[in-house]
């Protein structure tokens, strides 16, 4: 399969900083992949996202998005391909109403007025914000703001979606709904949609095809969720919570019960406990 994103030996140091936020970082993302990027606070995740969208320019190295180098002359084509939801949605609103805000991304991509009128309500519906179409985005609750920012991306359905902790302020059900909405988009678009989700949330990371771990501006590990999750308590250092089944394993182990060393998901854990129980 083609690579949709290639990051080659990229370094970046903020102008007023005395260390590199990204330090010779390389990674590739295949077309159609769903990748979770994890790492502790300050490890460089948002910096990487901004470089991919040409909001920042690397000091050295090269980024390629959908076969195009991310350089000034390709800036707009690249931004059209990459839809990003920022950590703080307040930085992102441009429209006077929620509907205008969702329209903005569509206008930029030259979508006809008529088409827009179909797409906007559909996108707002996906995030359960249809009743708020005429409201001013700044006058919404925190979670509602995040939903509107996500609707803007769903409307555009770009080739690449980058979610920078985009569900951090949603209620538990809202998180699941939003992820489900993106999964639905993914089901519709198949390999035409690639998702990069920057997250500290274990359930969100578990949904990914692959997890990339960033530490101090470098890629330090990558693998399928089950592989990464088998790191157990060490996951905490990598900026991710320990999956519940693994937490339970450690707690049982602390009580002197010997537990399997291989990674168990919740179902696996329940089965193991049940077998142990039946042997008694």
């Amino acid at each position: 399969m083609d690579n949709i994103i290639e990051v080659k030996n990229v370094s970046y140091q903020y102008p007023n900083s005395d260390y590199k936020a990204l330090d010779n970082l390389s990674l590739t993302i295949r077309k159609g992949e769903w990748v979770a990027i994890i790492g502790h606070n300050g490890s460089g995740k948002s910096t990487l996202a901004k470089l991919l969208n040409y909001l920042l320019v690397p000091d050295t190295g090269e980024l390629i998005v959908d076969k195009q180098p991310v350089i000034e002359e390709n800036m707009w084509t690249v931004r059209n391909k990459v839809g990003m939801v920022f950590q703080n949605p307040e930085n992102q609103f441009v429209g006077a109403t929620v509907a205008d805000d969702v329209a903005f991304g569509l206008e930029n991509r030259g979508i006809s007025r008529q088409k827009m009128l179909e797409i906007i309500p559909m996108a707002l519906k996906e995030v359960h914000m249809e009743a708020f179409a005429d409201r001013e985005p700044t006058y919404l609750s925190g979670g509602q703001k995040q939903r509107v920012a996500l609707a803007g991306i769903i409307a555009v359905a770009p080739k690449i979606i980058i979610l920078d902790e985009a569900t951090a302020m949603l209620d538990p059900k809202g998180r699941k709904e939003v992820i489900a909405a993106i999964l639905k988009l993914k089901a519709r678009l198949g390999d035409e949609l690639t998702v990069l989700s920057i997250t500290h949330d274990i359930d969100e990371a578990a949904d990914a095809d692959r997890i990339i771990v960033i530490n101090d501006g470098q890629v330090v590990d990558e693998g399928r969720p089950a592989e990464i999750f088998s790191a157990g308590p060490k996951l905490l250092e990598l900026g991710l919570d320990v999956p519940f089944a693994e937490q339970l394993k450690s707690a049982l182990n602390n009580l002197g019960i010997s537990v399997p060393s291989k990674y168990l998901d919740e179902e696996g854990m329940i089965n193991w406990l049940w077998q142990l129980n039946s042997k008694m």
Binding site: S141, R147, A168, D171, K173
Partner: protein, 289 residues
């Protein structure tokens, strides 16, 4: 400080065509030194309640009693300021709280604003920045030149520096990595225990509610729909899900085990308790004990 809400209503942009009723007829009491969790779906009114508690807005109708001081629609601004002096609020989005040129100046602002000398303010600021574990190398940087999680720490430090009696936290750990989340929640719990702080925490992390709160308010569409202790709240998984909420992971897992056929007690809310109950079930089975 005891706090009481009496028939409180709040309408945003009242009297305009955009009027939007966010809270209806709220009645509840928060005991001094309580650790209260405020939970509820997106848009249910949690942040609005916090703004009322901090005197940033006044009730459209009804009263809020702060240790006997009445706040209602007619309360003059200067009286609100008096209440605010004892209340520290960490906002949902940390950026909305930061504005100074350097991290240190930003954290010093609060204490100076409440009458501390620059020297005293600096001392308080440094103490607070240490409490939130932000290394000194960041103190002279602009607060906007930080990562999301680092900004969050500065915003929290700014509030701790005013040494409030009531600490109001609006999803204070959103954006922090799990280690940072644990550090902050432990620090708040210590302040609560040692300095008799009253804490009101808005969160979507049910684990934190189970772990730290002794009292829970559940909001839905601007109304208070339940007020009870965490165990009572988490005893009804189906009801919580109707509220778009969830039980802590340990409760969910316990319920799955019970569905599988295990006989486990009802009052389990965290992983240690779950492991202990399982140990009792599995004891005497020839495992390494």
């Amino acid at each position: 400080m005891a706090i009481e809400f009496k028939n409180v209503n709040y309408v945003y942009q009242a009297g305009t065509p955009f009027a939007n009723s966010a809270l209806t007829n709220l009645n509840f009491k928060i005991q001094p030194n309580a650790y209260t969790a405020l939970i509820g779906h997106t848009g249910s009114g949690k942040s609005t309640i916090l703004q009322l508690l901090d005197g940033l807005i006044k009730p459209t109708a009804g009263q809020i009693l702060f240790d006997g001081h009445v706040i209602d629609n007619k309360t003059p601004q200067k009286d609100l300021a008096k209440v605010r002096q004892h209340v520290g609020i960490v906002f949902q989005f940390p950026e909305s709280q930061l504005f100074e040129q350097t991290v240190l100046k930003d954290v010093m602002f609060g204490p100076q604003n409440f009458g501390k000398t620059p020297m005293e303010a600096q001392k308080l600021a440094e103490k607070a920045l240490k409490l939130v574990n932000l290394p000194a190398e960041y103190w002279q940087k602009s607060p906007f030149d930080l990562s999301g999680g680092q900004m969050r720490r500065v915003a929290i430090a700014g509030v701790l520096a005013i040494e409030p009696q009531i600490l109001i936290l609006d999803e204070p750990t959103a954006g922090l990595d799990p280690v940072g989340r644990k550090e902050m929640m432990t620090m708040f719990a210590q302040l609560h225990a040692k300095q008799n702080l009253t804490i009101i925490l808005v969160t979507h992390q049910m684990e934190d509610v189970a772990e730290y709160a002794d009292d829970v308010l559940v909001m839905a569409a601007g109304k208070l729909v339940k007020h009870a202790d965490p165990q009572t709240i988490f005893a009804d998984e189906a009801w919580l899900q109707e509220q778009q909420l969830d039980v802590p992971h340990a409760v969910m897992f316990r319920n799955k085990l019970v569905a599988q056929g295990f006989d486990l007690p009802k009052n389990i809310v965290n992983v240690e308790q779950l492991a202990k109950s399982l140990q009792v079930k599995l004891r005497g089975d020839g495992l390494n004990e």
